[in-house]
C-alpha cells in the first residue's frame, strides 16, 4: 500500500504552538498536508463534514470551548471517525492525564517539547510510526506509544 501525503490535523488554541508545529512538520522528510484548528469545536465541526479522512490527528488537551479529552471521546464513539489515529499533544505530564487519554482511546501521548529541535524529532517519530501503522500489518488495537 502506498500513501503519497499524510493528511494531518492539529487542534491547539495556542497560536505560537500551531506555528511551531507547522514549521516542524514542513521540515521533515515525510510529506504531509496540515490543517489547523483553534479549538476542539472547530475540529469536530470539520470532522463531521469532512470530505477526506485524516491519517492522524494531533490534539492539545487544554483548549477553550471544547477540550481535547471531549474531542477524543466523541471521535472514539463515532463510527465514521473511531479508527483515526490520535496523538495527544500536551504540556501536561500528569500520570493520571496520560493514563486517562490512553484508556479513552488515544494512540500516542506526546509531552510538548520545549525546543524546536526536539519538537521536530518528536513529530518525525510520530509520523514515522503512524506511517508504519497505515502501511504495514501491525495490530491497530495495540497502537499505543508514549513519546
Amino acid at each position: 500500500m502506498t500513501i503519497n501525503n499524510l493528511n494531518v490535523l492539529l487542534a491547539d488554541d495556542d497560536e505560537d504552538d500551531r506555528w511551531l508545529f507547522e514549521q516542524a512538520l514542513s521540515d521533515i522528510k515525510i510529506k504531509s498536508n496540515l490543517s489547523l484548528y483553534k479549538n476542539g469545536k472547530e475540529l469536530m465541526d470539520y470532522l463531521k463534514n469532512m470530505t477526506r479522512k485524516p491519517h492522524l490527528i494531533f490534539l492539545d488537551l487544554n483548549m477553550p470551548v471544547k477540550n481535547g479529552m471531549e474531542c477524543l471521546k466523541e471521535i472514539r464513539q463515532d463510527d465514521n471517525l473511531k479508527d483515526i489515529p490520535i496523538a495527544i499533544y500536551s504540556t501536561s505530564s500528569s500520570e493520571k492525564d496520560i493514563e486517562n487519554t490512553f484508556i479513552n482511546g488515544a494512540n500516542i501521548y506526546i509531552n510538548k517539547p520545549n525546543n524546536f529541535a526536539a519538537l521536530k524529532k518528536v513529530v518525525e517519530k510520530v509520523l514515522q510510526l503512524n506511517w508504519q501503522y497505515q502501511t504495514s500489518n501491525l495490530n491497530k488495537e495495540n497502537f499505543l506509544f508514549r513519546i
Binding site: 502506498t2 522528510k29 515525510i30 464513539q77 493514563e99 490512553f102 484508556i103 479513552n104 482511546g105 501521548y109 509520523l127 514515522q128 510510526l129 506511517w131 508504519q132 502501511t135 504495514s136 500489518n137 501491525l138 495490530n139 488495537e141 495495540n142 499505543l144 506509544f145 508514549r146 513519546i147
Partner: protein
C-alpha cells in the same frame, strides 16, 4: 451432445491481454513472457483503473510497482520470521537475503528509501507488536514470551519494550484492560 476442449495457456493469456489493451487505443508491447507491458506514453488514471478492472475479471492483476512489491515481501518475510522456530539460527540479514534471493545491502537500501524506516527498526517494531499481542491475548508470562521470541532475558524484552513504546509491558497491559471496561460501559 458433449464437446471437449483444450487450452494453450500462452495463447489464451496473450489473446486476453491484446483484446483488453487494444481498447485503450495506445501503443504497447507485451514483453518478458507477458509479465511486463510497455506503453509508448503514460496512461491516464482512468485508463489505468479501467484496465485494472477489466483484467481483474480474467484473474490478471496489475502489480503497483516492483519496488512496492518487494518491500511488501520483505515485511511479510519479517512477519513469518518472528513465527519461525528455526529463525533464531540466522541473523535477520542472512534470513532475508536467503528467503528473497537479493543481497541484504540491496534490500536494506530499498526498504529505507520506501518506508521512512530501516529494516532493523521495522523488525523491532514488529517484534514489539507481537509481544503486545501475546501479552493481551494469551496467558503466557513475560518470561515465556521472552523465551519464545529469543530475547536473551526478560530484562532485555522489557527494556526494548519500554524504549520503543515509552511504556512498561505491565503499564501497557493495564491500559488495554481498562479500555475494555470503558468500551463495555459505552455500549
Amino acid at each position: 451432445m458433449k464437446i471437449y476442449v483444450t487450452f494453450d495457456f500462452n495463447i489464451t493469456r496473450n489473446a486476453i491481454l491484446v483484446e483488453q489493451l487494444e481498447k485503450l487505443g495506445v501503443q504497447y508491447s507485451i514483453n518478458n513472457g507477458a509479465r511486463e507491458i510497455h506503453f509508448s506514453e503514460k496512461l491516464t488514471e482512468e485508463d489505468e483503473l479501467a484496465l485494472a478492472a477489466s483484467l481483474k475479471k480474467y484473474g490478471i492483476k496489475i502489480i503497483d510497482d516492483q519496488k512496492t512489491e518487494l518491500v511488501q515481501r520483505i515485511k511479510d518475510t519479517i512477519t513469518a520470521m518472528l513465527k519461525d522456530d528455526e529463525a533464531y539460527l540466522y541473523k535477520v540479514s542472512a534470513y532475508l537475503a536467503t528467503k528473497l534471493d537479493y543481497s541484504y545491502a540491496y534490500l536494506s537500501n530499498l526498504f529505507s528509501e520506501n518506508t521512512y524506516t530501516s529494516i532493523e527498526n521495522f523488525v523491532i517494531l514488529k517484534k514489539v507488536d507481537y509481544v503486545k499481542e501475546l501479552i493481551t491475548t494469551t496467558d503466557l508470562t513475560l518470561t515465556e514470551i521472552a523465551y519464545r521470541l529469543n530475547y536473551s532475558s526478560v530484562a532485555h524484552l522489557s527494556g526494548q519494550f519500554k524504549k520503543v513504546t515509552g511504556l512498561t509491558p505491565s503499564a501497557f497491559l493495564k491500559i488495554i484492560e481498562k479500555r475494555k471496561t470503558v468500551d463495555s460501559n459505552n455500549l
